[in-house]
């Protein structure tokens, strides 16, 4: 546990030395800001249109799908490339603790960036009457936290697979898009067992419900078990590196 925290702290701090991390944070803030400004402008012309929180969380998640791979790619790939993985793997630390530490560092950094986007709902709150629905705001951001946890875990697993940052980046974006946009498609097209499974596996379906203010237990369990699954997978991949 102690080692997890030591590694997470170093990883978190390392992001603040990395230009990519700042660029990604800026991209997220900027894109949400543009949308937010548009909504505010729109509501000035059409008084019927009320800007809402779920628009902000929705654009945030769409951006995160493309931004997070740039943040998670370095977690293990970069250490493999620089050779520092040899230091980590010869330190008295479990492979599992290395993976969880990396994951925690990545999650905490992404959440820090996400926390800065809270300025938009706060601004919005001062503009609309009646004020924003607090419940929606909380479930919306909870959905983003869960999303960050699952996809960072997957990002670590893919990062453990390659020594090359570009390969890691492309593979990570590919799998994020597949899991977010495509996994639920069979469920919306056909019936039967496959469709049932696909509906259950669709990350974005649970996300949508949370944006509407409801927290499903199945959704919560699904996000948490997927996180655990990807972390175990990442540990196995890291362990297998020792045999190469």
């Amino acid at each position: 546990m102690r080692n997890v925290w030591i590694i997470a702290r170093r990883e978190y701090n390392a992001y603040f030395n990395s230009p990519i991390a700042y660029a990604m944070a800026a991209a997220l803030l900027f894109s949400i800001g543009v949308l937010f400004a548009g909504d505010v402008y729109y509501s000035g012309i059409y008084p019927d249109f009320v800007p809402s929180v779920d628009r902000i969380t929705q654009i945030a998640v769409a951006m995160l799908i493309f931004i997070m791979p740039a943040l998670t790619m370095r977690l293990i790939s970069d250490e493999a490339r620089q050779g520092t993985l040899e230091l980590l793997l010869t330190a008295p630390v479990n492979d599992g603790a290395v993976v969880v530490g990396k994951w925690l560092g990545g999650v905490l950094f992404t959440l820090t960036v996400l926390a800065t986007t809270l300025i938009y709902p706060i601004m919005l709150n001062g503009m609309v009457q009646p004020p924003l629905d607090r419940g929606l705001l909380i479930t919306g951001y909870l959905a983003l936290v869960l999303f960050t946890m699952v996809f960072t875990a997957l990002g670590v697993a893919i990062s453990a697979l390659f020594d090359n940052l570009v390969a890691t980046f492309i593979a990570t974006i590919g799998s994020f898009v597949a899991l977010w946009y495509f996994i639920g498609i069979p469920g919306s097209l056909a019936g039967g067992a496959v469709a049932e499974v696909s509906r259950y596996m669709a990350f974005n379906r649970y996300f949508e419900t949370m944006l509407r203010g409801a927290i499903e237990l199945t959704g919560l369990v699904y996000y948490l078990s997927a996180t655990a699954f990807f972390l175990i997978l990442a540990t196995l991949v890291l362990q297998s590196r020792r045999w190469r």
């Binding site: 620089q82 330190a91 008295p92 045999w243």
Partner: protein, 309 residues
Amino acid sequence: MIQVEGLTKDYGARRAIDDIKFHAEKGEIVGFLGPNGAGKTTTMRILAGYMPATSGKAVVAGYDVMEDSIEVRRRVGYLPESVPLYTDMTVLDYLKYMGDLHGVANSIERAEDVLQQVDLSDRAETYIEYLSKGMRQRVGLAQALLHEPEVLILDEPTIGLDPAQIREVRALIQHIGKERTVLLSTHILAEAQTMCDRVLIINKGKIVAEDTAKNLEARLTTGGGRLSLRVKSKAKSLIPTLKALKGITDVELAQDGALLIETKPGVEVRPEVARTVIAENCDLLELRQHGMTLEEIFLELTAEPTTEG
């Protein structure tokens, strides 16, 4: 402290080390001497708990490297060959981080101590990115010392250092080696001889010879030797006189004007050669014993058993 038996490692179809057996005791500095690709790094990585062997057994500081890898890693200080470092950290932050991972109490003070030992205290706040190769090497060495390990595994610890630093690092390692077990690798015969109590010679994945530095030297000088002699002029006219000297088997004029002298095994001819040169009224510029190349050493050390068997 280190007990290795039948250690074998295959990378796919390539056998990197083959049935290696050796031991190292407390207070002993053991050198791994071998050319490129001999399997030094592979062996050291296995002992440091980085990767498992294909077969065989290795016990380090009382624990099996495959079964109790973590316990072994707690007790081993390891300097990898490429000296990997987190270049985005300062020297002190880096050492504190590695110390924390090794469970060192007061990791900051300990980091400052080891920095003093490797003479880098004035660079504590420098980002590793901006350090020279030799400084990085010393940071790597400091990292290996942080948790006061019983066993030190140093993969080519003096490579990339300037002569003054080499001397310092050798002295440091010898000092450390008094109470600990040190296993180090090198390509350089002289380094193995000056630093190590015992030398293991490894070639193509096999240990071809094992001896104390002293014995090794004796075994090597019993073979024929080679001298190179440089005089100001009239080198050619010296050849017949030198050839006639006792203990000299052959003399040749090399392309660069030096004379190459082959001697019989174990005979010291240098004083006699020098006297002869002076007596012949030639100006002596240089007289030098040739070091043996690693290839020659292997031939030398492995020749005896094969001629008998």
